[in-house]
Symmetry: C2
Subunit: 337 residues, 2 copies
């Protein structure tokens, strides 16, 4: 590629059901001359998030749907290599959006100059980025977790769930139970991430394990999966329990009439439950303080994380599609720089 | 009946599905001698509430289920006629619980001495009782209604819904839309209760009326009906909308696997929705201030109400069963005194 060209991933067609790598293609385009106020960054890592799925179908979600032919804009972290913007200098590390090798930005939208917290750069699209901040503000602002409470986390070996479970313990939860798929993830949860208990949803006796762990009930359910898990949890929530709707990876690919219905809703009155959805950009003003605190927790080993690093932009579509099959284990990041 | 006997309604059998009058019977029992600390009240009115239904099946709800043979304890209002309790004197007006002609109380639980607010006594089990307080605290504490917001109320001609809609207007809602069954109720909502718009769920073009009224979206949904109505409203909620789960009259008689499922739950993330269940006894400390304010609003005609008065305890079972068929129009109260 010439010095003035970049590669990016575009959506080939609106997706119906589970995404497939051929729903995406890579295109090579010229990098435009910068206008006044713009800067150019070279991405080092780009991320793939389950939440991106909700923009790949025609229906509206928390962000407008992408049209076929449009570039996909997952999160990225990179370095400014050219600038006509007084707030971003060459050499600055930045968090941006773009499934691409380069990003041209005017500094508005999601364009954040990153402080030097002494952590690997990939963490800015992982535990210090949207997944970690979702865990942080989901527990603090939405769940309003109190010391001594029992917490259930689904998709617990994923980057949001693993962080949420560990933060819950550090913030005084009496017990944290995680649900994950397969013995390897469950073992990591209890032996590395400090969960009190892990339940394997692929195990034949999952329902029995779930019922046993649910004795005593849950004050907080931090859900990253969707309706089937929430409906299972409603009858085992405690009085004034809170359900954080953080992600719905099991439902994103399903047309609304096929989504499992929440049926145990009588529990909302019986137990005064509160269920609330979360998009973490509402908490953007609080990110830098939370990131500094979380980086310290990572630095001294109180919070652990897992990454799966893929090489090259071309590996991104398949890595993204694997998010919906249970294949991922930790944060998937793609090294492009 | 001799002066030392009372009548009360007992549950004949656990109820499966819609209640029927023969699920209840009246029994005559002796009024016991009062122990120290007790008082005896003669009820003037007793109420029938849809929420009582949830205690008549074996499953746990917000209160433990009644066993066959047990007296049913809906709300009542009466007068102390004998007292060995220093806080309750003969002649005091009291709010109590008991589907009965008389109540013996030790003053604990729900036993409230009523102030003289110059309103008809039946209002203490209606708009000044649980239904009115549910509307009040559902809007204030749960929905946290703000001026300028659009509000949707279901079962709007019922005592909770009608009060909620009127309070929403008085507290600055920009528009209040009510859903009710039949032209008579809809007319009352717009012409007497001051709703901006009423939608007849029995009308052939209900879905079209609903869609037209929903343009602009709702900040608050105050639901007294259940999942089918909530699922219909989820896609027309506004960003940061709140759903108050106040009652589920359409679902109380339905086994959980047959309850309509909430499917539009992707909206919780997309629109940052919050849904919360309410049992108004959590707000008991605030009742008397709210009741005084509401009595003033009733007195000067800012808040209107409707009652259907039935005569005699024997009329109660049929009146109660009619709550689930859409037959009621306003608060049903039974005069027993």
């Amino acid at each position: 590629m010439s010095p003035r060209e970049m590669e990016r991933i575009v959506l080939v067609r609106h997706i119906d059901g589970a995404p497939s790598p051929d729903d995406f293609r890579i295109e090579r385009v010229a990098i435009p001359e910068l206008a006044d106020g713009q800067f150019l960054a070279r991405n080092q890592f780009v991320s793939c998030d389950p939440g991106t799925r909700s923009r790949l179908s025609p229906g509206a979600s928390y962000a407008p749907p992408l049209q076929p032919g449009a570039p996909v804009d997952g999160f990225s972290v990179g370095e400014v290599i050219e600038s006509r913007n007084e707030h971003f200098a060459v050499g600055d590390k930045v968090a941006l959006t773009g499934w691409a090798t380069h990003v041209v930005s005017n500094g508005r939208g999601y364009a954040v100059k990153l402080p030097d917290l002494g952590v690997p750069e990939s963490l800015w699209i992982g535990i210090l980025g949207v997944p970690g901040m979702t865990a942080w503000f989901g527990l603090k602002r939405v769940a309003q977790l109190q010391a001594g409470e029992r917490v259930l986390v689904t998709s617990a070996a994923g980057p949001v769930g693993a962080t949420a479970g560990q933060l819950a313990k550090l913030w005084g939860a009496s017990e944290v139970v995680g649900i994950a798929g397969g013995p390897e993830k469950c073992q990591w949860l209890t032996q590395v991430a400090g969960f009190d208990r892990a339940i394997d949803y692929k195990a034949p006796d999952f329902e029995g394990q779930f019922a046993a762990a649910a004795e005593g009930g849950y004050d907080v359910m931090f859900d990253n999966v969707g309706n089937a898990m929430i409906d299972r949890a409603l009858p085992v929530m405690k009085m004034r329990g809170r359900i954080v709707v953080s992600g719905q990876v099991a439902d994103y690919n399903t047309p609304v009439d096929k989504v499992p219905g929440l049926k145990h809703t009588a529990q909302f009155i019986a137990r005064r439950l509160r269920m609330e959805g979360l998009v973490v950009f509402d908490d953007l003003p609080g990110f830098s303080a939370a990131q500094a605190e979380l980086a310290t927790m990572i630095g001294d080993g109180r919070v652990r994380y897992r990454e799966e690093i893929f090489e090259g932009l071309a590996s991104l579509p398949a890595a993204f599609c694997g998010l919906f099959t249970g294949a991922s284990f930790g944060r998937r990041v793609i090294r492009v720089g």
